[in-house]
């Protein structure tokens, strides 16, 4: 019994942290640009492909492959931002945003299949992370700890970026009042583009470190198309603690459900979503709009 609870807890935390690492970029983007982006999972997938290719084809080591994945995904997504996303920031209706980002996702899936084929691409982790780790009272896969560390580091780094840097000040100003920020000489378009790059980069990072739990294949983008959006919505767009709380909560709901009633699939995950969204339509820690 105690063992089950522990297993559920550990799995829930690591799954929640992967959800958080991928979703937090989307959350910031949605908080600032008010754009419902269903293609976020596709960017995470691109990151995964980059990392897999860098390690297996180019023989790079794991940390370096992560850097390649993040930068590569940002470079690939930049033209999309300039040509497409800019048109749907803030003003555009949800339906338009949905359609455009579904369109982008479909294209990415089709191309990924064309380039890499329909099979799953593994991202070999270094020996240091692949073995078990002795917690003293229990052995767990080292990779799980790594994932949790990545999530916490991401949260901390983002918090520092937003609270302690000049960019963060501008970003918060643009979130609070875009027109005013513009009038004060803050170029919101630049802020938007940088935020987009950060969001996509974080997505790619999460896609790579989470690949053990969410394997990289062309239908990845479709399977998780709504998952990250749901996490952001439950947490409240633009809120780091909100996204963290939502990720852990939904990770717990999902993992518990899969342990105790595996045949129910994602039932408990989405049941939790309906209850939370009904009680907190702006998200757990979101601001009323």
């Amino acid at each position: 019994m105690m063992n089950t609870v522990l297993s559920i807890g550990l799995d829930a935390v690591s799954y929640g942290m992967v959800l958080f690492t991928i979703s937090i970029g989307l959350s910031i983007m949605m908080g600032l640009m008010r754009v419902v982006n269903l293609a976020h999972g596709a960017f995470a997938m691109i990151g995964g492909y980059f990392a897999s290719y860098a390690i297996k084809q180019l023989g790079l080591n794991y940390p370096f492959a992560i850097v390649v994945a993040v930068l590569g995904t940002i470079v690939i997504s930049a033209p999309l931002e300039m040509l497409l996303y800019r048109r749907i920031y803030r003003g555009a209706g949800e339906l338009t945003q949905l359609l455009l980002t579904i369109g982008v996702t479909f294209v990415i899936i089709g191309l990924a299949n064309y380039v890499f084929g329909p099979t799953t691409k593994s991202i070999p982790v270094p020996a240091m992370l692949s073995g078990p780790f002795d917690l003293g009272f229990r052995m767990i896969p080292t990779h799980r700890l790594f994932v949790v560390a990545c999530g916490l580091t991401t949260a901390l780094a983002l918090w520092l970026l937003i609270e302690r840097t000049d960019f963060g000040v501008r970003l918060r100003a643009a979130v609070d009042n875009g027109d005013m920020a513009e009038a004060l000489g803050i170029r919101t378009q630049v802020i938007y583009s940088m935020t987009f790059a950060i969001a996509v980069g974080l997505g790619a990072f999460g896609g790579v470190v989470g690949a053990e739990l969410m394997p990289i294949e062309p239908s990845y983008a479709l399977r998780y198309m709504v998952t990250f959006l749901v996490v952001v919505s439950v947490g409240g767009a633009g809120s780091i603690p909100g996204a963290l709380a939502a990720s852990l909560l939904l990770g717990l709901a999902d993992t518990t459900g899969k342990y105790l009633a595996p045949e129910f699939g994602e039932f408990f995950f989405y049941l939790a979503v309906i209850v939370i969204v009904f009680l907190f339509p702006n998200g757990l820690l979101g601001r009323a709009q």
Partner: protein, 334 residues
């Protein structure tokens, strides 16, 4: 069509009522005949196309006429299909009664999801619609005694229509039956969207606050329209179950919801003809291209979606229609 034709030119007196009846009969009848001639060996595909077209029409009622953003509409379609399948297996064989079962379960599902989804606007609304779809999908997988799980629910063998016309293996009866149902539903919906109720729904879509400021209670209207939409989706689901004899998990899935939305927007949301047009064109192309390579098809659809958002945000239907009107006006001038 609806946008222009509910206007006020005096010549739209009683003859308009006749036209509302005659035009769908003639146009859909002709399309049906054309389909029969072009795909004589593949009527099963065309009957399937008609079921999905009903789903897209149903989606249009909430997306196009009420401005609700939803990515979970297939849940209604699929639940109705399962209900019809189970009713048939339990011994209810009459196809018309089975249609009624589909419509009724669609109504219930529509009212329930409407009550949840239209409570909010924007992101929470969208997320709730997604969650309902996923919830129903997971349940369908779990309740395999009712749904057959991932194998699908099979063994659905409906009886004869009016006790006379049996379903044949070439889907001839099924095709004509579905076509007739589509025409009837289309005519009813044409009346509905031009009714005072339909007009108020469009008003709510355009300006929710003003709708309340003319004294309208918005929430009950949206739920009611969701109910109607549920009936239409349910009839679509029923046709699917009756014609194919199998109901699979794909009937309730997210992908079907997303695909229906793509078809709707392709043709033009907020117009019944747009929904019809989008559903037919999309599925014809899918039938041809997807057979060759499903991933190329996905890429194509993606590009098409991006192009629509950029160049024809009203959908292809209105874009073509306005081009056509301009041509006709130019032709009318001596």
């Amino acid at each position: 069509m609806t946008g222009q034709h509910t206007s006020v030119e005096p010549r739209l007196g009683p003859p308009a009522a006749v036209r509302q009846l005659a035009v769908p009969v003639i146009v859909i009848g002709l399309l049906g005949a054309a389909g029969y001639l072009v795909f004589p060996e593949d009527l099963a595909f065309l009957t399937r196309l008609i079921s999905i077209t009903l789903l897209v029409l149903s989606l249009d009622l909430v997306v196009g006429y009420c401005g609700v953003a939803t990515l979970g509409h297939a849940a209604i379609f699929g639940v109705a299909a399962y209900a019809v399948g189970n009713a048939c297996i339990a011994g209810l064989a009459d196809p018309l009664l089975l249609l009624a079962v589909g419509g009724l379960s669609g109504l219930v599902m529509g009212l329930v999801s409407g009550a949840i989804v239209t409570r909010f606007h924007g992101l929470p609304q969208l997320v709730l619609s997604i969650a309902i779809g996923q919830l129903v999908g997971a349940l369908s997988n779990k309740l395999s005694s009712l749904t057959g799980g991932s194998d699908g629910l099979s063994g659905i063998t409906p009886g004869r229509i009016f006790g006379v016309f049996g379903f044949d293996m070439f889907s001839r009866t099924g095709y004509l039956f579905s076509l007739a149902v589509l025409i009837v539903v289309f005519i009813v919906l044409t009346r509905l969207v031009a009714s005072p109720f339909g007009l108020l729904c469009r008003g709510i879509r355009d300006n929710n606050l003003r709708a309340r400021m003319i004294g309208a209670a918005v929430y009950p209207r949206l739920i009611a329209m969701y109910g109607v939409s549920g009936v239409v989706a349910g009839i679509g689901g029923a046709l699917m179950a009756i014609n194919t004899g199998v109901v699979g998990l794909d009937s309730v899935g997210f992908e079907r919801s997303a695909e229906a939305l793509v078809m709707l927007v392709l043709g033009g949301a907020g117009s019944l003809w747009g929904a019809l047009f989008g559903a037919i064109v999309f599925q014809l192309f899918e039938h041809v291209v997807s057979a060759a390579n499903p991933y190329h098809w996905l890429t194509l659809v993606g590009l098409l979606l991006v192009a629509i958002v950029l160049f024809a945000p009203q959908g292809l239907g209105p874009a073509v229609a306005s081009r056509w009107r301009r041509l006709r006006r130019a032709g009318a001038r001596p």
